[in-house]
Amino acid sequence: MIRFILGRLVKAVFILLAILVFNFLLIHAAPGDPAAVMAGEAGAADEKFLTDLRARFGLDQPLYVQLWIYIKGAVQLDLGYSFRQQMPVAELIGDRLPATLLLTGVAFVLSLVLGVIAGVAASARQGSWGDTIISTLALLFYATPLFWVALMATLVFSVWLGWLPGFGYSTIGAGYTGMAHVLDVAKHLVLPASTLGLFFMAIYMRMTRASMLEVSRLDFVKTARAKGLTRGVIQRRHILRNALLPVITLAGLQAGQIFGGAILTETVFAWPGIGRLMFEAINQRDYNVILGVFYISAAMVLLFNLITDVVYVIVDPRIRLTT
């Protein structure tokens, strides 16, 4: 098991390195002077700054030396400087990362828990009206553009009904502290987290339902019935546990998508996370920030994949005991 996890860890490090190489190549493939690309849209940076950049990244040296300098920097979390924001990119991201982690974490847990429950409920009564309603809703959520559902949610729950705040992380100028602050943030979190979670909930629900139905056809379920176990015990102990394995795998694979979704959700709700940061950087052509966010989000995704790998190993003895 330790071997298995170590193996995954090594792989993750390789992927991160590959992403750095990829970023590096992108900077050089982009039209125009790499220094200008790094500094942001041409004209935004002054000539002295560009000269500094060239010297620092050895832009007059051979490509592999440049690559080495770039990777060495990135590994030490030196992601360059945002000329637009007048701040190191790492610092910018560090400020914004907690908000994104809060949003994606809540959305993920919410969508996974609710998705699995809905999937189990639908599969238990396959073909009933309950199943039809759940499945139809999942199909709808699965087809709805995330950013649009976020906009519509703001419109309905914030603009029309006035129930929940439609943008921001907390009420500006309210100066809440302690519990009041937590509640304030939670209130602001409701719309972004639920709209981000909706799409993923649909995915987990569909997967759980299909997987439950698949497992319920397997031989050991018949054995369980032949033992005289009740339906509920069979569902919980025998079908669900086995059916969760592919859902865990899927959840791991979807991690990257949740970060992608966060870019849209944060944009719509002005949520001060790295997704919003990326959106601002796109408009300002602030390449260092764009690439930095990309790199950090990839690292987050890899970390998350590692966690799902561990969970999988804990659940499945066939991997735990043979590797």
Binding site: R3, G7, A224, R225, A226, G228, L229, T230, V233, P317
Partner: protein, 540 residues
């Protein structure tokens, strides 16, 4: 005393199935302590009848008529809730595939304890205690370790023992065993059969044993029911049904069983080797073998050497994992051997590649086990048969003519050309597979478990066809099988393999009747139905 009684039971199949009823007019009684065998070929409805007793029919299949009384009470039509105390409590069941019948994520001990839990018997510690005892009783070597094991850590035979332990937990009145030994090796089968018999004796439990194998029936049955296409065609005491069969179907089935003793002497073949295998080696390694993956090495074939003479049939027999199939696959180079030589006409196939290999391999063709996966479901028969010829440069029209001749040769109509594989039965598909193997005019045929997936009556027909073709086309044959009866029927010489090595080789009469090694003897002893065979021979 009648424990279970089934009257006029009809079980309907869902609309759109190939027939209306899975089973019809089922009538039988089961007495306490007796072993009743329900025997029949695939699709005879033998499993359905037994599943109906437990109320465990597949979705869409339901009993529409009749009654099932157990212990004087009607149990057909009871609700799920009312059935629960019976299932696992008074009637229990074991299945064919012991791996898939156990939950892969639960420890063996927990799966046994669950039976007590389901019926509210005993407390936690007592359940564990009983589980240990049961594992010991069914002959698991180290119960303390086994109770903590997951199913994948046990062998096939041990898994089936665990299933039996589970079924016995609450000392049921009836054990229903649905083909419980079909997936097991012959020596393991013999042990499980003995276990079931012993348990019947020690506990006075009645057994309904479903099987397709008359040898097994002969060894354990008190009474026998023969089913065909959903109906009971014959029933009676084991002796009556087996030795004095009344129904023509029963008689045909019994005649089709391959005999270990073969009438007439094996004709002497001239010893001109057509294929020489020298020191063949093959090692498999599983696991990625990268930095952190553990590498597991299995020596599948070790130093295997033999000669195949022109015109003879050699049987390579062994249990699963003996390496017999690997030998066949290495010879035709579906696998690349790690060492050794395979000589044909003086050329070493084991070290050829590219066009040379392709040309030489023409003469070596293979017949496969599974009639369903051995034909491309999306190709018409004409393409399946002509493809190889066309690849070797035969004009399409000539290839078509040849394909029609081949179909006739294997006993199929030329109209089969334009049809797809799924339109044929298993036996017919196997004939198409044989025709394909013959298309390139090979001199050697390697048959890998070629009749193992077929029902016994079809099996006999295909074996006859192979023997006939061998004569007519002057073929030499390597016949790989786990079934010594089949080998006895068709082979001139036999090679016995165990754990990748040849343990014994010789003429069929010598190996089967006067073996030199203990291993071969243990294989022979384990074959079910030998007393029966002797009784049959005497009757003739």
């Amino acid at each position: 005393m009648t424990l279970l009684s089934i009257r006029d039971l009809d079980i309907a199949l869902p609309v759109g199935a190939d027939r209306l009823y899975a089973a019809k007019h089922i009538n039988f009684d089961l007495a306490a302590g007796e072993i009743l065998c329900i025997v029949g070929e695939s699709g005879s409805g033998k499993s359905m009848s037994a599943n109906a007793i437990m109320g465990l029919l597949p979705q869409g299949v339901k009993p529409v008529n009749g009654s099932i009384t157990f212990d004087g009470k009607e149990i057909l039509g009871l609700s799920e809730r009312e059935m629960l105390p019976l299932r696992g409590g008074r009637i229990s069941m074991i299945f064919q595939e012991p791996l898939s019948a156990l939950n892969p994520l639960m420890r063996v001990g927990a799966q046994i304890a669950e039976v007590f839990e389901a019926h509210g018997a005993l407390n936690g510690a007592e359940r564990r205690e009983r589980a240990l005892k049961l594992l010991d009783e069914v002959g698991i070597p180290d119960p303390d370790a086994a109770i903590r094991a997951y199913p994948f850590q046990l062998s096939g035979g041990q898994r089936q023992r665990v299933m039996i332990a589970m079924a016995l937990a609450l000392e049921p009145d009836i054990l229903i065993a649905d083909e419980p030994t079909t997936a097991l090796d012959v020596t393991t089968q013999a042990q499980i059969l003995k276990l079931i018999e012993d348990l019947r004796k020690s506990r006075g439990m009645a057994v309904i044993f479903i099987t397709h194998d008359f040898g097994v029936v002969a060894d354990i049955a008190d009474r026998v029911i023969v089913m065909q296409k959903g109906e009971i065609v014959e029933s009676g005491s084991a002796d009556d049904v087996l030795l004095k069969p009344q129904h023509p179907y029963t008689r045909a089935l019994i005649d089709a069983i391959p005999r270990l003793t073969r009438g007439g002497d094996v004709e002497e073949v001239k010893h001109t080797p057509i294929l020489t295998v020298e020191g063949l080696q093959k090692t498999f390694s599983t696991g990625s073998g990268t930095l952190f993956g553990k590498r597991r090495v299995v020596k599948a074939v070790q130093d295997v050497s033999f000669e195949l003479y022109a015109g003879e049939t050699i049987g390579i027999v062994g249990e699963s994992g003996s390496g017999k199939s690997t030998v066949g696959r290495c010879i035709v180079r579906l696998l690349d051997p790690d060492g050794g030589r395979v000589l044909m006409d003086g050329a070493d196939i084991a070290h050829m590649s590219g066009a040379e290999l392709r040309d030489q391999r023409r003469k070596l063709q293979m017949i496969f086990q599974d009639p369903f996966s051995s034909l491309n479901p999306r190709a018409r028969v004409s393409r399946i048969l002509t493809e190889g010829l066309i690849a070797f440069g035969t004009p399409k029209a000539d290839a078509q003519t040849k394909a029609r001749e081949l179909l006739e040769l294997v006993g199929l109509d030329a109209s089969a050309m334009m049809r797809f594989p799924h339109e044929f039965s298993g036996g017919q598909r196997q004939r198409i597979g044989i025709a394909r193997a013959l298309a390139l005019d090979p001199s050697i045929i390697i048959a890998d478990e070629a009749v193992s997936a077929l029902d016994v009556s079809i099996q006999a027909q295909v074996l006859d066809l192979l023997a006939e073709l061998k004569e007519r086309l002057h073929l030499s044959m390597l016949f790989i099988t786990h079934d010594l009866r089949v080998a006895a029927r068709i082979c001139d010489r036999i090679i016995v393999m165990q754990k990748g090595r040849i343990v014994e080789a010789g003429p069929v009469g010598k190996v089967l009747h006067d073996p030199d090694t203990d291993y071969t003897r243990s294989l022979l002893d384990a074959i079910p139905g030998q007393d029966y065979e002797r009784a049959l021979a005497e009757a003739e």
